[in-house]
């Protein structure tokens, strides 16, 4: 691991659950909520169900690890320069799913095309940031911290968590590890596995575990975090057990295999999104969920690999929105898909593409104003063989923070960014 760059400082959280009806999460006395914006339901409150304010949304962040090939996802099929650089890797006009503006979806994004036709999918074109970094790790750090110029260690959602109390359920990441997105200075989201959440042992062991997880005076920061992770586990385990008591798992959404070639994203996407859907429908107070899929680092023999990944994303996302249909909580959900970078315009001769820059972001949900946003980057006016970005990714984050979460974006992003009007 390249030293500390993926670490974030996590201090003491204090969270408690009052499990009445399994839905109401109460803040412990002394929980700090300085600066919690009035518009944010935040921890502890049950946000009003859909139909009211658009600022009570639920954000689902889908991270595509490895650098998704944006040009083979949203395909500029009418531009001769597309196939010019990708004769074998590219798709012919008769293979793609046209969306308008000379752009089309990858053939396997049929369900996403359905969301587009239903005007529930916004596509922000040419998203990136100045001086693009082509390292997976550095660029993902930039996307997850939203601080391109510095080695920022907190995440853009983590900084929102810092300001809104101490309930670990506010942000849930599905999987073992917690992406930088969810790490703040003093607060952090919880990570939960796709599978069984039951703790081993009986009440005596649990009570001993709870006692051993109490904060200790003089404990080192890491030791304090070990204790806090135990405390949060008990909180989350109890709350989720209550929440999911009446929400059976989708039998089709069994745990999948691990990702093909690293760069994150351990589980296949469908079971992750199935768990999110169950938690949403059960009324979890969670405002931000994290899911992920890996394997997008397609340097060689990309076409089949990428087509498989497109199908995975399409199947999982389509099933997710289908399972939320008719649920008032489901109407609050907005799913946002992004990757650390796109890939080169021209194929590399190994039937793949090397690390690139700007790429489209996808924003889906019943509340989303479907359509194209931002300008499609030129395929000829390039920066060293790579696309020039047209929309800063922090503009998308600013929109999500202000219009969906209902907080001032500047507090998390450091400076103002022009919103993208997809909400």
């Amino acid at each position: 691991m390249p030293i500390t760059r993926r670490e974030f400082v996590l201090g003491g959280l204090g969270a408690g659950v009052a499990g009445a009806a399994g839905l109401v999460l109460a803040r412990q006395p002394g929980g700090k909520t300085p600066g919690a914006p009035a518009a944010a339901p935040g921890a502890g409150a049950i946000p009003s169900a859909g139909g009211g304010s658009t600022k009570d949304g639920i954000l689902v962040l889908l991270t595509l690890y490895g650098g998704n090939d944006g040009l083979n996802t949203l395909i500029p099929y009418e531009d001769g320069n597309y196939l010019g650089g990708r004769s074998a890797l590219g798709y012919q006009p008769n293979e793609v799913l046209p969306l308008g503006d000379g752009l089309a979806f990858h053939p396997n994004l049929k369900g996403m095309k359905g969301l587009w036709d239903a005007k529930q999918l916004a596509i922000v074109r040419g998203v990136g940031y100045p001086n693009p970094n082509r390292s997976h790790f550095r660029s993902m750090d930039i996307w997850q911290s939203a601080v391109p110029d510095d080695q920022e260690i907190t995440g853009w959602v983590g900084r929102w968590l810092d300001k809104t109390g101490d309930d670990p359920l506010r942000a849930l990441s599905i999987g073992g590890s917690l992406p930088r997105i969810f790490g703040g200075d003093s607060a952090a989201g919880a990570a939960i596995p796709v599978g069984e959440l039951t703790l081993p042992g009986g009440p005596t062991v649990h009570s001993a575990f709870a006692a051993a997880s109490e904060p200790s005076a003089g404990a080192s920061p890491l030791a304090a975090r070990v204790a806090q992770s135990g405390k949060d586990l008990l909180t989350v385990d109890d709350a989720i057990a209550h929440l999911l008591a009446g929400q059976p798992a989708n039998s089709d959404a069994t745990a999948g295999s691990t990702s093909l070639e690293g760069t994150g994203g351990a589980n296949s996407l469908t079971p992750q999104l199935d768990l999110v859907a169950r938690l949403v429908k059960a009324g979890s107070p969670t405002r931000v969920y994290g899911v992920s899929l890996g394997g997008f680092d397609t340097h060689a023999n990309e076409k089949a690999t990428h087509a498989g990944l497109m199908a995975d994303v399409d199947t999982a996302v389509t099933a997710f929105f289908k399972s939320l249909e008719g649920s008032p909580e489901g109407s609050r959900v907005v799913l946002v898909a992004y990757s650390e970078f796109g890939r080169r315009v021209a194929a590399n001769g190994s039937g793949g593409t090397d690390h690139g820059t700007a790429a489209p972001m996808f924003v889906a949900g019943p509340r989303v104003k479907g359509g194209f946003y931002g300008d499609e980057p030129s395929l000829t006016n390039l920066d060293n063989g790579d696309l020039k970005f047209t929309t800063d990714f922090r503009s998308v984050y600013a929109t999500l923070l202000e219009q969906l979460i209902g907080v001032e974006a500047k507090a998390s992003l450091g400076k103002p960014f022009v919103a993208v009007p997809f909400l």
């Binding site: 691991m1 390249p2 030293i3 500390t4 670490e7 690890y65 082509r134 390292s135 997976h136 550095r138 990441s173 999987g175 073992g176 590890s177 917690l178 919880a190 990570a191 939960i192 596995p193 081993p200 042992g201 005596t204 062991v205 009570s207 001993a208 575990f209 709870a210 051993a212 109490e214 200790s216 404990a219 080192s220 920061p221 890491l222 030791a223 975090r225 070990v226 204790a227 992770s229 135990g230 949060d232 586990l233 989350v236 691990t258 070639e261 690293g262 760069t263 994150g264 890996g294 680092d297 340097h299 060689a300 590399n348 001769g349 190994s350 039937g351 793949g352 090397d354 690390h355 060293n384």
Partner: protein, 440 residues
């Protein structure tokens, strides 16, 4: 120095360099003293005492499919190979875990794990367990030697060639995957090379091939771009070996590698950290990894409080250290050990990316805490706990601390242990997930 402090320092030394000390091992090391114990740990010229009882895993070569074969026969052969690979991968995993558990020269295995993390390569893409084993042996045999020799060996290692698409890197059609990670992750660190260095470096590695049939490395002259390249400001007719040599000779390399080793054994620190710079100055002279590790273990900052509380056990260290302490082998930890390590986030031979595994806070999520608790409960049920059971209830927490080579328990853990002191298995379970034990 008080006896307790010496004991505490040597226990720390063993946790970092040797997967933890067993009680009798710690007693003997305390009698010998800190420096003598360092010298014993870093002496890798002696054969490992467990080696003889642990034959290397065997592998069946991939089947040769007669050409032309019909589609059904081809698919059947492919499926048979996948099945064989899964089974061989499982055995390879258990073999390495047992080596770590039983090794009498544990620093060798600890360094093997370190380099596996540094030159992170995953079986998920490499597929063939035998190639992962061969790479693992490079780390084991060359991991304490000269760093350039190690880097040269890894650059032509078949698993690495498959992992970073070497076979696709051809004259006129360079593939940057290997050259980029070589500079960014393996030798220099980000910011110490240019995009042009990556592009030109990729050209120098064109034609480097792994022959799947023979398992041999070769440079195919027809695929190698032998024209001039400009890398790190030098222009020449460079090949891949030149690029590795030139990268290792860059001033940024020694501090970067030193920072990785210091961060792995002492506490996280970047290349500009004063201790790292001081150690790197020595390392730059000979690139001798073994000497650098010895210097790290003997550095006053290694036993300073910031280092003593500066690392969380990686899951493999956590599992291996626990099995060593409890005298269990990998198989005895239950058939689900591979799933346990997956649930803890660190499967051997399957790092999450070419960047290896993150450190410290990365391991401290609620999800990993749950798997730790389950593992602790499983091994506590399987271990022989006579030594704890025979102690009085009041003395049992101290007996567990001695068993696990922990200095002692803080107030919260003590309160938790007191609730289960009448049940040795529950007592051990709680001790194994306590902060005092989870930290390295």
């Amino acid at each position: 120095m008080a006896g307790d402090e010496t004991r505490s320092r040597i226990a720390h030394l063993y946790r970092r360099a040797g997967f933890g000390a067993r009680p009798e091992e710690l007693d003997a090391a305390v009698a010998a003293g800190y420096e003598a114990t360092v010298d014993k740990l870093v002496d890798l010229s002696v054969a490992d005492g467990a080696w003889a009882t642990m034959p290397a895993p065997t592998f069946t070569p991939p089947p040769v499919i007669a050409q032309p074969a019909d589609e059904a026969a081809r698919r059947a052969a492919q499926q048979a190979e996948q099945r064989a690979n899964r089974e061989e991968g499982r055995k390879l995993n258990q073999w390495w875990l047992d080596r770590m558990v039983l090794s009498t020269t544990p620093l060798r295995e600890r360094l093997t794990l370190f380099w596996h993390d540094h030159f992170a390569t995953s079986i998920q893409k490499v597929k063939e367990p035998e190639l992962m084993y061969r790479q693992n042996e490079i780390f084991r045999t060359a991991g304490a030697g000269n760093f350039e020799a190690l880097a040269q060996a890894v650059a032509r290692d078949p698993a690495m060639l498959v992992w970073l698409d070497a076979n696709e890197n051809k004259k006129g059609k360079p593939n940057e995957n290997f050259a980029r990670e070589l500079f960014e992750l393996f030798i220099l660190g980000i910011g110490n090379y240019t995009e042009a260095d990556v592009q030109e470096g990729a050209r120098a590695f064109t034609g480097w091939q792994y022959q799947r049939r023979t398992g041999a490395f070769s440079v195919l002259p027809a695929q190698h771009d032998s024209a001039a390249k400009t890398i790190f400001g030098q222009t020449g007719n460079f090949g891949g070996e030149d690029v590795v040599r030139m990268a290792v000779a860059q001033p940024a390399s020694a501090p970067y590698i030193t920072s990785k080793l210091w961060s792995g054994f002492a506490r996280p620190a970047g290349a500009s950290d004063p201790v790292v710079r001081q150690l790197a100055a020595g390392f730059a002279k000979d690139l001798d990894v073994g000497k650098l590790v010895r210097a790290i273990l003997l550095h006053p900052e290694f036993v300073a409080p910031a280092s003593r509380t500066g690392l969380v056990k990686q899951p493999i260290e956590y599992v291996v250290g626990t099995l060593r302490a409890l005298n269990l082998r990998a198989a005895a930890a239950g058939n689900n050990l591979p799933q346990t390590l997956e649930g803890l986030g660190q499967q051997p031979f399957a790092p999450p990316s070419v960047g290896g595994w993150p450190q410290n806070y990365y391991w401290l999520t609620t999800s990993f805490a749950l798997t730790r608790l389950r593992f602790a409960s499983t091994v506590a049920a399987r271990a022989r706990l006579d030594g704890i059971a025979s102690a009085s209830v009041a003395d049992r927490p101290a007996a567990v601390a001695r068993l696990l080579s922990v200095d002692g328990w803080g107030p919260s853990t003590s309160a938790g242990l007191a609730k289960v002191a009448n049940d040795p298995k529950a007592l051990l379970t709680i001790a194994l997930v306590a902060p005092e034990y989870v930290l390295a």
